[in-house]
Symmetry: D2
Subunit: 420 residues, 4 copies
């Protein structure tokens, strides 16, 4: 009987996954000084403290509040403080001011997490099978949600550390020996109708479906990401000074901010170095170029006589491959030498604006705000990075950021129209 | 012999089309006071003077400078003043300051146009057939370019007049009797691969090709645009106060600017009126709703339980229809009652971000900047408006504006996923 | 009998002065193209058209509306359009948008002026002596007000012409031969109590009184303004690169805007030239330095081992001199060689913030807004410039502008503490 | 022999004062959570951490670096991080980003202070009398400097706590019983020449001198500050809605920010409460109104038929009184009931812009930047507040802030022109 089965198998599994996910977030905070928890270096970033609290709030709001008998919030104002963007849940503390809240303290936020964890685990034990089946999708969403914040926690921290003149390190220097980038090859794909999107088997975010057909004209797909070494050629060839290589908005952004290299690249004397979560070190030409905006990726591709793949081309080309690569789980916290894996190291910018798939319908209620309302003015990225939990990565996963964002681990992979 | 043919037929035809296009621009300025020529009411708009000069500069720069024996520019600084955005042609006067140039005077700009016209017509007569064949595509582009500025001249002027508390009129009040909107019906389209884009027969902008295949899932397409009357229902149902109906960026834009109705709608006492190029008048519920942003169009569609069509759905659905409708040539300067035509009255926002078609390559040199570099952060509109010259309208024409733009004649037409 | 006397003498005199003042404003507009009338090159400046209309509005609002039998405004919306800053009179069109009103046309504004002139002159003839005595102070204020706008009309136009790459000229080039600057001498003034401010004999603005006592410690006063030649030494000595010479706010302003020389100075090749109302010409080292901010004047004085005089020192030092100099009436429209006159050529920045004199009370009602509400964040300037009508200049006249303003004819004169 | 005397008396006294001053700063931080140390709630404020480090840097830079044998900075980058505004000392970390530095940690900054303290005390013991005499003025300046930062530490913290929705308390609620405000009386002062400024006996900042003469017309001076109760009458009489009461810049500031009451006043239901360093509590009508801008003080005075005193009137009127009042030393951290003391509780805005006294010369070198370069766009405040150390308060002390600043303990005292 399904209920029995769920009772004996799923509950402990669910509970363990819940505990593991929650623990991994806290493990990521182990290297932090208490002072680091409050850093918000730009409005797009959030303090580690806030990530810790918001991921607790998610379970409290979307599960405990709806299911826990006699529910009372841990603190009456935490919903106001730690709601991110759910209008249906009510007003919230302004995003750019998240770094201004010294209280609740870090200790209070860990206590909040403890409380939510205990009540969640207790709920998982006490509810009946029907209720468990009802909350399972939200529980699962909450864990994937927390994984997203694990990645953001690292990228936001890197941004804050990167602007501190003391250049703090998150982890000790890497001792991995330098490696070679794989040789660049081109893989041909014929024109055809392809099925795109998630087929409903296992978890996926709503924006990965419905599965639908897309016609792809013939294209060629690069065997590995663009490397720092190749990107240096673009810079040396005045890539940052030639408007003909850039989108108009990209050129304006470049001029306004003064980009002349990827984020976190610096000159120490005449040597190019790069700030990483393991400290500043010489730029490695074999690594995938990283921390570039869509505009830079697009300009590089144009300079290289190629273009960015659409997200559909990426999915079609990558489709058969196994999901493996350099993810958060490796604890390298930085891309390794550019190789043949289509996953990990760096997210790759695609040429596809982030829009709904045909037939897309967001969920009803607050959770419908999770993805759908952001389907404008952003570009899709695919593949996962060295800061993405491995369990979070999927063929159909659609990450999205505005075209001027540079603080994620973002790189590019080239594509070409097939020769006629 | 082709040369002969061109001599006897094409030259006079080309010359007449050139003269007509140039004359139409100036005819549009007939109702202006001299003071109106200098108005720039926001950075996105340009003064009528500037439109007049820039369209002359286009022919001077891209044809005369390259072909006229002993070419000397009409004025050494006009290239700096009247270049719009062509980096390859050199520096230029900042766009937001176009309204600050009282000199050259309007008379000098008309003299500039006269000079360019005469030299162009003289060139058309004097060059040999081979040269004529070479410049014809650019000449044609220049005329379509001028038609685009005819539309902008009107929409920019409407914007400037619309904020003047005296509400000047461009043309006398309309005497057309009120009409009924057509009944809304839904047309079903089955899933299929469709050919999209221009086939190369006759003129098209480079962004309309290459012709390529797109797979469309089954969809339903509305028989006419959404009307003011229907949009009033959206407003009455608190459409402007419900964040669940809006994209996140759209809600932010709405809040920042304070939108509560389409642009140019006002309240006179308790009556809704609308400012038009023929003066302020009571809002007509039968007209297509107009002067709304993409965000408003998208919110309306969500409220109505529908969605915006993609540009491919639009092109597939409209494909067989004849190009006719209420265009600039009618000199109504305002949409008429919403009917069955798929063209004219209002541009319709599509759900498609403006990106390149597969295989797209912009032209080499400065003219490659015409369309390609804007392929980011804009949405595609289709169909033409009451301010578009009829000759300018095509099935494959892709207009594009940022999602918050409201000063063009922009409305919407609904689509729906086909019932499963 | 006073009434009789007023009848036979004062009315024609008043009427003639009124006509003359009004005519002088329009004479200043004679060199303008119609297009120039609408120029507003920054929010601080107003279009010539607006100056013409606003000075008519002043008489219409503060005299005709209160005194004319059966008064009806020339146009029901002109009070909204042409009120400058009188909250007591009602709402008004936003200042930064004054250049966006192509309507009313220039012709309509001249008609407005005609109408106000005729009605004013008719009123002056028809009212009785008591009423005449009542309105005389406001009439006089209105004429001085119009003189202020004569100066602004020129300085605003210079600003707009100065940024046009065509560098239009307001008047033909000057043919005056270069002259020598007078030799700089220092005049000593002993410590003493001095009477400062207007004594009530003849017209003065309310901010020039009440007359009161100020104690001045001993000081030395320079015999002429600082010249371009001297200012070039400051520049050559890195005056614009040494923060120790600058006020903190001044340094920030300099950095933000990128000042490296006075406004209107340009380099043509390696030659320093200056844009004037009579066109661009080589910089004349003998002229008073002009178009500098308070911050630059203050930095120069510090560099020169001196300081700016307070407005009280200026008034005490200049007191006995006759009011003569290079004013608007000379129609040179530019400073002449720096000489011994304490008036004309350039306004001199004083070290005195613009605040109320002891006992100051603004008038009741709207006209109380004329001066008093601006007594914060501005610095006092003294002496009049080449753009000030001669009749407008007085020993006690207090001009005032924010410390970063550069578009008036502003220079400096040095002072020093007396040696102990 | 003076040297002997200094040896036996002054060194221990100096050392004890140094130790006390340094200890008081740290005592003020005792109630803080570690998270609070990093708060920077607006660019004008600095984090407690930064105050702690900057006041150490001051002694390290201006004394140790110049006098300590074999000086090496505690950390090579601390000069960059903790220089406030001394251009002569070099570049510095941008002020608005002071809150973004999680490193150095709080512990490291306390270690920095320990190191500076020890080296300073060791230096004080080891140098000879001549050297001691040379550094004494800078040592004294450094201690007064630190006292200024003690006050700022509290006001900055109040600002940060005040915007946190949890409204943290710095200290436990006050148990003082409510008191009555003193009765308002007017004290008359005849016209006369008065000596103003510091006479050189004991410490004073350079901007308090030279002592010089000022002529004061007769005036009346209020016997106590304006109270909350009186200010409520101003609010009830639409004081925040009547532009005729406000300076033009003040009205613009009010409209832009939306002021409708002093900072830290809130409504809880219909009750007016006020946020204090001891928590939120009902508004006490007997307390001096506090946390208002110059603009509000000025508007209130105009509404009350009075005006603000000049700083000279304040100094002349207060002159004979003893310096006593509610200062930081009372540890009330809030104003008490408005009484007759001219010192303490709240700084009072004067009508005097902050400018140099006649004969003022800043010190040579970096310390000349302490006061002089800020003499523009600020207003003088007098008298000290409940957050000012008692030892810091003097008759001639000139505090200064921009007219829109509200986060200091700022109130007002009225003056009037004497009846004629």
């Amino acid at each position: 009987m399904p209920g029995q089965l769920l009772e004996t198998v799923a509950r402990p599994v669910l509970a363990r996954r819940f505990r593991d996910t929650r623990a991994r977030t806290e493990k990521l905070c182990k290297p932090l000084e208490l002072e680091d928890y409050q850093l918000q270096s730009m409005p797009d970033c959030s303090p580690p403290k806030w990530h810790l609290a918001h991921t607790a709030w998610f379970f409290e709001t979307f599960i405990l509040e709806r299911r826990e008998p006699g529910f009372r919030p841990f603190h009456p104002q935490f919903c106001y403080l730690f709601n991110s963007y759910y209008n249906a849940v009510g007003d919230r503390w302004p995003r750019p001011a998240r770094g201004l809240l010294s209280r609740p303290t870090v200790a209070e936020i860990y206590a909040y997490r403890r409380s939510v964890d205990e009540r969640m685990l207790s709920l998982l034990e006490s509810i009946d099978d029907r209720e468990l089946a009802e909350i399972s999708p939200i529980l699962e969403l909450g864990m994937y949600h927390e994984e997203q914040h694990q990645e953001l926690l690292l990228t936001d921290l890197k941004h804050a550390f990167g602007l501190n003149p003391l250049r703090p390190r998150y982890a000790p220097p890497s001792e991995a020996p330098p490696a070679q980038a794989a040789r660049l090859e081109w893989e041909s794909h014929p024109a055809d109708v392809r099925w795109i999107g998630h087929d409903g088997d296992g978890f996926a975010f709503d924006n990965e479906g419905p599965r639908h057909r897309v016609f792809l004209e013939a294209f060629d797909f690069a065997s590995r990401p663009v490397t720092n070494g190749e990107y240096l050629d673009f810079i040396a060839d005045d890539g940052y000074s030639r408007p003909d290589l850039w989108l108009s908005d990209g050129w304006a952004a470049k001029q306004a901010v003064g980009w002349s290299a990827p984020l976190y690249w610096h000159l120490e004397g005449s040597e190019r170095v790069s700030f990483t979560l393991r400290g500043t070190r010489p730029l490695d030409p074999a690594e995938p170029v990283c921390h570039i905006s869509y505009y830079e990726a697009d300009a590089y591709a144009r300079w290289a006589g190629a273009r960015l793949p659409t997200e559909f081309e990426w999915e079609a080309a990558v489709g058969p491959r196994e999901v493996r690569g350099n993810f958060l789980d490796s604890e390298r916290f930085h891309p390794g030498a550019a190789g043949g894996s289509c996953y990990g190291d760096v997210w790759v910018w695609t040429a596809s604006p982030y829009v709904a798939y045909p037939g897309y319908r967001p969920a009803a209620g607050a959770l419908g705000e999770y993805n759908g309302k952001f389907m404008c003015n952003q570009m899709v990225l695919r593949g996962g990075s060295c800061a993405t939990p491995a369990a979070h990565v999927r063929l159909t996963y659609r990450n999205f950021f505005p075209p001027d964002a540079r603080w994620q681990f973002t790189g590019l992979r080239l594509a070409k129209d097939a020769p006629a």
